[in-house]
């Protein structure tokens, strides 16, 4: 995070990298708990309205979620590979793989946009805006409220993660990171993996069950 890697109050680069990594993990923990509130709401309402949730889940396009999962998992793989190159000091390849991941993220968002458009056309909308004729069971409007909240928040994280990958990728391309100091690459990768990790749970909750 510093222009000249070693900040004045750290004794060594190793220690500083350890601090940055720990900070990232703590930040990821806060992200997990941010989503937890939504997952808890989802669990409660799925418990209270099993019919509405199951029917709504079947009413949306499962294959889009499936393809998006494949895309996101693959992007996580390319990010991991990019980080592997950074730890060898190969900034150019890091940039290449991060660029690839950003493209995959765009594909993900593209599918998401198609999906959202579809929901708007069908009237599969939260709360009072719900107009969908296909599912009448109670709880369906709540399903879509939570659907938009969870996937919307996740999409926001995808956008943030893309931005981080682009910035770090460009810096890596310019040769900012070395074998000795590449913790920003590692943290950017960690963030992206978390975005993937959360989607891995969103996918079954929203699309499969």
């Amino acid at each position: 995070m510093q222009a000249s890697p070693l900040a004045h109050h750290f004794e060594s680069l190793d220690k500083q990298a350890h601090a940055a990594r720990l900070a990232m993990w703590i930040f990821l923990a806060t992200e997990v708990l941010l989503f937890t509130a939504l997952f808890a709401a989802y669990s409660v309402y799925r418990f209270l309205y099993p019919e509405g949730f199951v029917q709504s889940s079947r009413a949306i396009e499962t294959w889009i979620g499936f393809v998006n999962t494949l895309v996101l998992v693959t992007s996580s793989f390319t990010v991991a590979t990019g980080y592997g190159h950074a730890s060898r000091g190969d900034g150019k390849r890091t940039a290449l793989f991060f660029g690839l991941s950003v493209l995959l993220a765009l594909v993900f968002l593209g599918f998401k946009a198609v999906e959202y458009t579809h929901h708007f056309q069908e009237g599969q909308l939260p709360g009072p805006y719900y107009r969908f004729e296909g599912v009448k069971a109670p709880g369906a409007p709540l399903f879509f409220a939570l659907y938009f909240l969870i996937t919307g928040l996740h999409a926001f994280h995808v956008v943030v993660g893309m931005t981080v990958l682009i910035v770090v990728g460009v810096l890596a391309f310019r040769g900012r990171y070395t074998v000795a100091y590449h913790v920003p690459v590692e943290n950017a990768a960690l963030y992206w993996h978390l975005v993937d990790l959360i989607w891995i749970f969103v996918f079954p909750l929203i699309y499969l069950i």
Binding site: A23, T30, A40, A41, L142
Partner: protein, 554 residues
């Protein structure tokens, strides 16, 4: 590192964080020095403490009469909401961790700064931004929901609740950033020789606080956003008319807000652990027990939120679980209380203002804590719920605890922060007034609650008037005591006698640097060879504190 009472540090360090590397407003506003950020936090929280205090006094003045008077019921509702919001989000949560924690944590660890100085400054500006948004909401009319923002009322009220929600949301980020910074600092920047079991107890408690801050605050952030979404678009997440469950909101809210009580009280315990050793001139009794009980409180504090929901439709099963788990907090708190009192035993106690505040703290903690155990009993809570008994209980334990510790810290570290001393006589007068005033404010409220007076009521039956008047009288004494403290502390900033590096002869590590500390804290990285609260090897006769003529800092 040389033991400080005999160090040849100058009485008033000529080059210190107040005047180096620069003076001037700009250098303060762009500083990354944790000490300056801590001081800026202290100034900000003190201002908001005053604002919240004025709201409280207005409420108390209204309650002098049972009939509607002085203000409309809506204004009254807004006042108690704003009192709660300001005191909790703008004063109590940041006061000790962000203020004193920022100033002291690196000093106590022997570090040059916190792990992420820029993040630290960002935390301050996020705090200011959150405060600004909340203030905008207040000026814009303010909410009338109570600081708890219970749905469905908060999603349907016509008052402007959204800016206040967003303000609290933003303030949460400040809290998270500070907590993150402190945890990483504690892990990575301890001085050579300082293992975990040589950390000052202040650090232990602040560390435990930080854990709560980072784990609980995101849930609150999400919850407040959900309420804002619901208020704006009516998606029905918490709206029973649309199939939502309003009790779910209460679960989410208290999942943060109950641990938040420990965000407030653990730092208070942090201060008290330091004060009790210094003013008893004695090793802490049961260091490990006190240290681990901080973590214990932080952990168990997460398992108790449901005791706020005993009367709101929560299942009897959950109520039973939460009732029992809530009582575990008392065990960890009692561990601390017994260890502090055992520390006093055969100590050489000097009754200075911080020590008086320690005694007040002990009383409020024990009395407030015991009423807390009573309230955690489901059958009793059904009777007391939403009465003044609850109000008095949480004011005793949270507010009493935090104000006592905040004032103790302010006096104890005043020489460290400013390099000067305050007038002890005035301080004792103010301390006694604050403690007595606090008791006279809230003991009548315990009685009122027990008689059945509900909280948050604008008008009340005549038979409650006498005790309400007593409470207002107590609040006036409390307010006056605080005002006196403010005046002499402000005067001492400029005219107080120079304190010397260690006026209390404390063995705490933060006193090993000159007062006020130089910008880089330590000339060279200290090596820790002894525990933080060891008074064993202290010489019997202490040299008197140096009484030099003040050398003006600026």
């Amino acid at each position: 590192m040389p033991p400080s009472p005999h160090s040849d540090a100058p009485a008033y360090a000529p080059r210190n964080y107040l005047n180096a590397p620069e003076t001037g407003l700009r250098s303060w506003l762009t500083t990354r020095d944790h000490k300056r950020i801590g001081v800026m936090f202290l100034v900000a929280v003190t201002v908001f403490f005053a604002v919240g205090g004025i709201f409280a006094l207005l409420i108390r003045i209204k309650l002098l009469t049972p009939q509607p008077a002085m203000m409309s019921a809506l204004t009254y509702n807004r006042l108690f909401t704003l009192h709660g919001v300001v005191m909790i989000f703008l004063f109590m949560i940041p006061a000790i961790p962000s203020g004193f924690g920022n100033f002291l944590l690196p000093l106590m660890l022997g570090a040059k700064d916190v792990a992420f100085p820029r993040l630290n400054l960002l935390s301050f500006y996020v705090y200011l931004a959150g405060a600004a948004v909340a203030l905008f909401g207040m000026i814009h009319g303010g909410a009338d929901t109570g600081w708890t923002f219970y749905t469905p009322y908060s999603t349907s009220t016509t008052t402007d609740v959204v800016p206040i929600l967003l303000g609290a949301f933003i303030l949460g980020f400040s809290s998270i950033l500070t907590g993150l910074n402190f945890i990483v600092t504690t892990h990575t920047l301890r001085a050579p020789g300082m293992g975990w079991m040589k950390m000052p107890l202040f650090v232990w408690s602040i560390y435990a606080t930080s854990i709560i801050q980072i784990l609980a605050t995101p849930v609150l952030g999400m919850t407040l956003l959900l309420v804002a979404v619901e208020h704006a678009f009516g998606w029905g997440i918490f709206d029973p008319a649309r199939g939502g469950d309003p009790v779910l909101f209460q679960h989410f809210f208290w999942f943060y807000s109950h641990p938040a009580v420990y965000i407030m009280v653990l730092p208070a315990m942090a201060v008290i652990s330091e004060v009790v050793c210094t003013f008893a001139h004695k090793n802490i009794f049961g260091y490990k027990a006190v240290a681990y009980s901080s973590l214990g409180i932080a952990f168990v504090g997460f398992f108790t939120w449901g005791h706020h929901l005993f009367t709101s439709g929560q299942s009897a099963f959950d109520a039973g679980i939460f009732g029992i788990l809530s009582m575990f907090v008392a065990i960890f708190t009692a561990i601390k209380v017994f260890n502090w009192t055992a520390t006093l035993y055969r100590g050489s106690i000097s009754v200075k203002a911080p020590f008086v505040y320690f005694v007040g703290f002990l009383f409020f903690l024990v009395f407030g804590g015991m009423t807390g155990v009573a309230l955690a009993t489901v059958s009793l809570d059904v009777d007391w719920h939403d009465t003044y008994f609850v109000v008095a209980h949480f004011h005793f334990i949270m507010v009493g605890g935090v104000i006592m510790a905040f004032l103790a810290a302010l006096h104890y570290w005043f020489p460290k922060i400013t390099g000067r001393t305050y007038p002890e006589g005035w301080a004792l007068v103010a301390a006694v007034m604050v403690i007595l005033g606090f008791n006279f404010t809230f003991i009548p409220q315990f009685l009122l609650g027990n008689m059945g007076m509900p909280r948050r009521y604008y008008a009340y039956p005549e038979r409650f008037q006498a005790l309400n008047v007593a409470s207002t009288a107590g609040a006036s004494v409390l307010g006056l005591g605080l005002l006196i403290a403010l005046v002499y502390l402000l005067v001492s900033l400029r005219y107080g006698p120079v304190a010397g590096p260690n006026p209390w002869h404390s063995r705490g590590f933060e006193w090993n640097t000159p007062s006020p500390p130089p910008p880089e804290n330590y000339e060279e990285t200290p090596v820790i060879t002894r525990g933080p609260h060891e008074y064993d090897d202290e010489p019997a006769a202490l040299p008197p504190a140096a009484a030099h003529e003040p050398e003006h800092a600026s």
